[in-house]
Amino acid sequence: VTRARGATRRVPRSAIALHGAVLAAFALPGVAGCSAPEPSPAYGPYRTLLEVVAELDATRDADLYRFDPPRDVSGESLPRAVLSRLERIEVLLGDPALAPAIEFARAQAHERLSGFEAAQAGYRQVAAGEGPLAAAAAAALPFTTAMCELTRPLQDPARPLDVLAPLAQRREELTKLLDVYADDPRVCLAWIAIERLDVRLREYLYRNRNAIDDGTRRAVDHARDVIAAHAESRRLLEHVLRLGDFLAELARAQVAAIDPESAEFDATRARNAIAAAAEVYAEVAAVDGAPEREEARAGLAALEALAQRLTGTPP
């Protein structure tokens, strides 16, 4: 039977691995059979802290705006894994002399997750102490403080359009930071904050499209603007997908508002809406290596079924 190319899963199959496995298998009864060893002596938590700091340090300068955030080998978000491990190590270690190291690493991890308030508190705590880490924390503080100020939640507006001005002002202030900290690898966090503002406005406009004049057009236009403004972002496909979602939802709304079997139903209009959404989804569905591809494919399949519902032919 000829095996199709790439059809089967490949696993490590080496003579070396086999020999190792056989030897280990002989050793297994010895390992499993013996009673629990004495609790090991020192250095454990130190070692674990070294591991955590080393992993975090290895991704220190990663561009989180343009590329996917680092994950640890088990697939978890690295800064998140670091934070939870640091918490555990703190419980297990009990060495006050290492508190600055832990706090500094924690502040870095929070910063990676855009948790600027926690990062700011951490850096401040370390900066208040002594030693080289204190100086490093003091140097890190201005950017973190600025980001902390510029990412505070905005108050809900009284009228739908009242949110636009504060959002625009905040975006402008964040844009200024891009120049000030152009040489700091953390400037990607400012880009991320700008992108989040744009996304927030996009969602806001879409959600309130019925309360805003010409709301649907504005929402869709802004969704397109977000795509253009963040063409280099790692979230680009997500933005395109969202535009597809908006258009698909508008198509669905047409079908839901007017029964396709009724005389008032405008089949051409509905078809155009479906085609517009399908084109956007198709753009994402053609990209390899991203989970968004699968979402877009599912979206295309759903639109196809919707179109079939209009024509009345069974799927």
Binding site: L18, V31, L50, A54, A58, F67, L92
Partner: protein
Amino acid sequence: VRRRFAGLTALSALALLAPVALLACGSAALAPTSPRSPPIERALRDVLLEPPGDPSRRLLAIDTARAVIRSVEDEEAETTGLLAPLEMLAIGCETSREERCARLEALADGEYGADTLSRRLAAGALERDPRWLAARLEGDALYSDFAAFWNGVLRTAFSALQGNPIGVLQPLVVGIEGVVRGQPLDPRDRKRLTLERRLRAEGEPAVLDPRTRERVAALHDQSCREALRLARMALERRDPVAAAIHLDGARAFLRREDEVAEIAVEIDAQLAARREALAAALAVEPVEIDLDGFDRTRVSALVAAWLARDAAALAAAQRDLEAEPPTHHAEHYAAALASANALRRASRLGPPGAADLRAVARRFADTEHAPLAARASTRLDARDLAPFHAAGDVAQQTRRATWRFVFTGERISGDPLEAHADARRAETRSWIDALAPIFWLPATLIRGAYAALGEPIDDRRRIDALAAAVRATRSAPGAAHDLARREALAELAERHERRGEYWKARLALLEARADRDSIEELEAKLADEILAEGDSDRGGGGDRLREARLRWLIGALPDTEHAARARQALATIAASPRGEPIALRFALAVAPELPIDPGWQDGDERNGEIDPERIELLEHGIAFALREGSQTRRVSIDVASETHERLLAAAAEQRWRYAVARAATYHELHSGIPVELYAGLGVSGASAYPRLVEEGYDLADRRYYE
């Protein structure tokens, strides 16, 4: 038949051993600080207190720490475990990408100790480097080409020894084929393209050496051709939207612009035609059929009677039709139609109109308009049976697809995604295909045997069609389709049963009102399945769903052996541990003060034995099962809140370490030279020989490249 025992054995053994090894090393990693070696503690503290932005100072501190560790290495064996994370930290200070990768590779290869965790962390860090991964995948591609060539040589030699001419010829043909026509892109190729795009985005195109650039350019060209081919096939299917999608994919490579433009024009033309067709369809106005010359009054009376569901009026109209048959074909047609519908409706109202549709045709059998009446009744009949006819069409398509498979080896299920895959294959057709007849006869015989013994074509579409037919006729049972419906349900039940979908099979049998024995037989299989699921899933976290299924089983099959087993399984679930699991060694490492009697781990059950891998961490303490001879009792121990906090941290760390142990890294999946023992029975006869396994792309994101 294929045996690949070597790799699988090694993998299984490693999978079994990894947790044990981790448990052994885990206790060391979690041990509380001890003041036994103050110089090392000081050195490590100095390392950790150096700021990450100052590599020179940190490297200096790391070197000092290494020196201190090495100086006490002989006294404290555990200190060797510190070198790997220190090296990892030092690698973080490295500015050269190549150097960083080389050092990480050394770490992953175990040069700084055999500790699984450190090696896996290093392997994970390596995988995050797109350049390193791209180079490895490039190497895999070259190796796979070599392996394919070498396997062909082995196979030819083996067939020559057997005196099998087809076996000798086939690897040669396949080998030439591989050279002459390009292979379709596989997930590894697509991943390579993605990595190359990432490197370009990082501004590192210069890092690719000329040979690699050439291969990447070839991949781009291949990818572009594939997208164009898919676009053309979509156009052939008159699907311009799909064609546009593929064309966008081709445009991304900025190649073959003439072909792209040509297809774009065709897409626009098809889209325009589609728009025009739609507009024309919407503009069409209904044209009144010429109905001159027929007795409107008579037909109107009949239709009125039908609409009013007036059984007496219908009977009168029927008598009238029989007494004076219609003369005009339109009149006759309308009358037959109305009459048939009326009778059908009336049959639901009660006995007076209980006539079969075929009776309509019979009433007019002796008149000159008999063919028209028969057509009318057949049409009505057909409308009821239409869903079953659709299911029949699917069956016919499946039969055709089976024959096609037997004679050509191609499997087509009608799935549009498969059509795309076929397009990818078709892209690489060449004159080599002309040699296919050499293997046709033996291959057809084997495929024929396969088709006779099994079902090479997936029957999912047939099942869908049968289910749709059953659903469509569920609310309107009638004589015309009762038989077809029963048959459809029986086939549905059989197919579901064959696929192991016993629940659906049972529902189909119940709806078909099958005999009790058949249903009971199926329920027994369903019960076995539920009980087996419970065994395999124990401890897997699906307790709620399992409990619900077991409860259904007890209710559905009371007083049976299955119900007794289900009750037992429910009792086991209720008694099974619900707390956070933690291994005893992990627990003792962080809380040596736990009152665990050493006698509980000495292998002597008379004084009690504990399962060292299964301690439960409860809200205020720990619990475990203590085995004393044939008895097992549950022991709960309260612990101080500070101890409990430490135990919680240790349990979380254990969970993380297990997750790391389970993770598959590229580095480990590709260690050594994979060899497998191949045994096959096929066109080239029986064969068995060792061969090299071609490397694929198996990381977790493979599905996004398929």
